[in-house]
């Protein structure tokens, strides 16, 4: 069996059966939402191909057979995790590491100082017991069954998740690192994250997704993740989503953030791994003076397929957003990027910018780009641009004429291409990303 899911097979049943008892624990409101999400998922049609966000990706790849959809057997794939955690902690400059194994087992390392500052870092299951009102107020507000069929799937099936709450006025100096590892081939997981950053508080979060099957020809591992982030007034949030899943992994991720008056948010989707990764990042600017910056990078090689969406939704006036999404493709890699800027009627005096640049390093790489604008009032300044092209042969020629080998010249140019995206990242993280880029340029 290959990792393709055959949606045309009429004997396949992709519905979710009755939820297992452990998914129905907790308060009534949660149980109701899970049940409703399950119903929505089962009743919603599979998104039609050709329809907007599904034009370039087969939704069938994210459907899981009824037999397997509740599967809790995610295999022993986590031997390496302990080492990675120790490595992260040793390198320092972190305010803790949280490991999330297959969306089920969540552990905390070195988060004592955070807790001492009054920051809450808990399993979602614990947070529901300890801070019921807080969780009820925010959970499912941004990613829910109204968002889409696959968001409903996560909404029904997430087993446990991570909850982070930074109280008003608290500045978390060092990044908090979340390490989410998927199980072996055939495993299914539904990770969930809820972050609330209080008024005038500050948080940097590195959300790293790894693991999964390393065998492209075996049954794929599957992850369907949901991330909800709330930035209250004047908060400052940096959210880095680093995806380095193994090559036998299909993943679907929906991220939504809502930032209030005067809040600033930096979102960085950095995607390197997986066989197929469909990711959707959206920030709602909900109060005057809110500012959102997105800087994304997709590096694809081999047969990898990346499908990324970004959304900047200006729901309030005097808000500013910008997006810079870069794509580098080698070999037979494919990328689709759809970015929407929407400015509502009442959101006056807004500025929004969007740029998508695609660098193709091989003849067989393929890039699609759809930068979209929906502007519903006149008082805006808005622009977007997209480019797709090879490395400028003149630049390569120049570098070669200075005695630099072709491979090195290409590496230098690609590094330069991605450098502006990576500025502002913590030093050791930037070094890691640069390593990812170089490794991927060199692997044959």
């Amino acid at each position: 069996m290959s990792n393709k899911t055959d949606t045309k097979n009429s004997t396949s049943d992709f519905s979710i059966p009755d939820l297992a008892p452990e998914l129905l624990r907790g308060p009534n409101w949660l149980r109701d939402i899970r049940k409703k999400s399950r119903e929505t998922f089962n009743n919603a049609p599979v998104p039609r191909r050709g329809l907007h966000l599904w034009r370039y990706t087969d939704p069938g790849k994210f459907l899981i057979d009824r037999e397997r959809v509740l599967d809790t057997d995610y295999g022993e794939n986590f031997n390496a995790v302990e080492k990675i955690v120790q490595n992260h902690l040793r390198q320092g400059n972190l305010s803790g590491v949280v490991t999330d194994l297959a969306g089920r087992r969540i552990d905390f390392f070195g988060t004592e100082n955070l807790v001492a500052q009054g920051v809450t870092v808990l399993r979602l299951s614990e947070a529901i017991e300890q801070h019921p009102e807080l969780v009820e107020r925010y959970l499912y507000q941004l990613v829910n069954s109204a968002t889409g069929k696959f968001e409903a799937m996560n909404g029904a099936l997430w087993n446990d998740g991570i909850f982070v709450y930074v109280p008003d006025g608290v500045t978390v100096e060092q990044p908090l690192h979340l390490l989410r590892e998927s199980g072996l081939g055939g495993s299914v997981q539904y990770p969930r994250l809820l972050v609330v950053v209080g008024k005038n508080a500050e948080l940097t979060l590195v959300d790293e997704y790894g693991g999964g099957s390393t065998d492209r020809d075996a049954v794929a591992s599957y992850a369907n993740s949901a991330v909800e982030i709330f930035g209250l007034e004047d908060s400052r949030i940096s959210y880095v989503c680093l995806q380095r899943q193994a090559s036998g992994m299909n993943s679907y991720l929906t991220h939504r953030a809502r930032i209030e008056r005067g809040a600033r948010m930096l979102t960085m989707p950095l995607a390197f791994g997986g066989a197929l990764a469909k990711q959707n990042f959206g920030v709602q600017l909900n109060g005057r003076g809110a500012e959102s910056v997105m800087r994304g990078l997709l590096f694809g090689s081999g047969h990898q397929q990346g499908d990324n969406h970004t959304l900047h939704w200006h729901a309030a006036g005097e808000t500013v957003s910008s997006i810079d999404f870069k794509v580098v493709l080698r070999e037979r890699a494919r990328s689709a990027y759809t970015g929407l800027i929407r400015i509502e009627k009442d959101a006056r005096t807004c500025e929004a910018y969007q740029e998508n640049r695609n660098l193709l390093l091989s003849r067989d790489a393929r890039a699609r780009t759809i930068p979209e604008l929906e502007i519903l009032n006149e008082d805006v300044r808005c622009s977007h641009g997209a480019t797709i092209g090879p490395i400028d042969p003149n630049s390569v020629f120049y570098l070669q004429s200075r005695g630099i080998r072709l491979a090195d010249a290409v590496r230098m140019i690609v590094s330069g291409f991605v450098m502006t995206t990576l500025t502002g990242l913590p030093e050791n993280l930037r070094a890691r990303i640069n390593d990812f880029v170089s490794q991927r340029l060199e692997q044959e």
């Binding site: 193709l360 003849r363 890039a367 759809i370 930068p371 979209e372 808005c382 977007h384 480019t387």
Partner: protein, 477 residues
């Protein structure tokens, strides 16, 4: 009163004669009563019989009707507006005759005013208002035709084209836009009537623009016109359709298909200034095939209609082909201009450029929807796309939905879009030089449109500017 009725009867009678001699059609009045609303195989059969068409065309029509009936309505662009179209309440063929019966008094006041302000003569106004098919420039039309005929140019309405050059029509009809292409192309293929047929022989350079304006004096323009232009090797032709005055019709749906074939080394420019009345749904499919070293240019202006969905396309099929699309859209009150451009690069060393300008005013909505497709192994392809949108009024809306699908690495694609309102500092500057705010705004809008207007023949540019002036009137509360 009596003379009016007489005139009307004469019009009707002459139409009857026309059909009788040309189509073997004997009883227009009777037919008019028979012609039912709605479309089905009977209606299609009747259209085909009346035109006395060859069987292959009738077959194409029937097949297309099945396609039309089986295809769902588009669920993009503006499904709310599209849902307003009642296909069963439309006359698919007899409408033009019904129009003849209308009196000038029924033409809405705002259209009459526009005619006044544009300074169009009475007779032409009536024609453009859909009231009368007669007017004095008939002579001009005939002399022009003779001139063209000497060069071997075929410039006919599509029905005559089918009769006189069935071989050419059979070869190219539906070759660029098959009925399968989309629901409205299928509808047009099923019930098409009228439109232009142009064939330019090898090496012939048509020095004056060919204008539908002259042709439609003799032949009434249908709601489902079908145009086919073939530029043979090394020839050049510029075709202009529509005019700057509003075309008034009570019909709710206009759905044309325009196919251009630019053979080796030829050049076709197709200029449209669409100014339908604001109750019309204008759903048009336009596509060109450009062969070796040929150049095709669509110059497309959309001012009128309630909803326009039109995405001129150029397929660059052989090496060296060039495509250019220059479009402007003006969406005023209650209008939605959903327009765009498609470039299909299916050969190496082809280049294309898209420039789109849109203005949304009041609660108008303009959308740019485009596609750039570069197939595999197409070295030397160059593409640039530029979209500018200007918003005037608090409720104005502008959307941009460009799609770029690139399957080749050695290609440079650039896309840019900007959306803004009229810049305060520009207004301030102009006002400080003594212009009123209205004039300043108009000047800025005209400047914004200039890359488009400068591509038009002078008289069209002048009229377009006047039209913009009218649209802009009272833009400050």
């Amino acid at each position: 009163m009596a003379s009016e009725i007489n005139q009307r009867n004469r019009d009707l009678a002459s139409l009857g004669e026309d059909y009788a001699t040309k189509y073997g059609f004997h009883d227009p009045v009777d037919y008019f009563h028979k012609g039912a609303r709605g479309v089905n195989h009977e209606v299609v059969e009747m259209i085909s019989k009346m035109k006395n068409e060859p069987k292959w065309m009738a077959d194409i029509r029937h097949q297309a009707l099945d396609i039309f009936l089986s295809k769902p309505m588009p669920d993009w662009a503006d499904s709310e507006m599209l849902a307003e179209i009642d296909f069963d309440n439309i006359y698919y063929f007899m409408k033009p005759i019904k129009d003849q019966q209308k009196s000038w008094d029924d033409v809405p006041e705002y259209i009459k005013n526009t005619f006044d302000k544009l300074g169009i003569p009475e007779a032409e106004r009536k024609f453009l208002g859909g009231v009368s098919a007669q007017y004095e420039s008939e002579v001009v039309y005939h002399s022009m035709r003779e001139d063209l005929q000497k060069q071997g140019i075929v410039f006919l309405d599509m029905d005559s084209g089918l009769r006189e050059r069935p071989d050419v029509v059979k070869e190219y009809f539906g070759s660029v836009i098959p009925a399968m292409d989309n629901k409205f192309a299928a509808l047009n293929t099923a019930v098409w009537s009228g439109g232009s047929f142009i064939y330019v022989p090898p090496g012939v350079n048509v020095t004056v623009p060919l204008q539908a304006y002259f042709r439609i004096n003799a032949e009434n323009m249908g709601q489902f016109e079908r145009t086919l232009i073939i530029a043979d090797k090394g020839s050049r032709v510029h075709y202009i359709e529509g005019c700057t005055a509003p075309v008034y019709s009570t019909d709710s749906l206009h759905s044309a298909v325009v196919e251009l074939v630019a053979l080796e080394d030829s050049y076709i420019r197709y200029t449209t200034i669409q100014n339908w009345a604001h109750n019309i749904f204008n759903l048009v499919t336009k596509r060109a095939s450009a062969y070796r070293n040929a150049t095709v240019e669509w110059v497309d202006g959309n001012m009128g209609s309630r909803l326009t969905m039109k995405y001129p396309c150029i397929q660059l099929l052989e090496e060296g082909a060039k495509g250019e699309i220059l479009s402007v859209a003006f969406a005023g009150k209650n209008q939605h201009q959903d327009t765009g451009a498609k470039m299909i690069h299916a050969a190496p060393n082809t280049s294309s450029r898209v420039t789109s300008k849109s203005i949304s005013k009041d609660n108008g909505r303009s959308s740019y929807r485009g596609l750039i497709k570069v197939h595999k192994n197409m070295p030397g392809v160059k593409v640039s796309v530029e979209c500018d949108a200007l918003l005037i009024g608090e409720e104005a809306r502008s959307d941009t939905y460009p799609t770029m699908e690139i399957d080749h690495d050695q290609v440079k694609i650039e896309h840019e879009a900007r959306v803004s309102k009229v810049a305060e500092e520009q207004l301030f500057y102009l006002c400080s030089r003594g212009l009123t705010e209205d004039d300043a705004r108009l000047l800025i809008v005209n400047g914004f449109m200039e890359p488009f207007t400068k591509e038009l023949p002078l008289e069209y540019a002048v009229e377009l500017n006047r039209l913009i002036e009218l649209e802009m009137e009272g833009s400050i509360g």
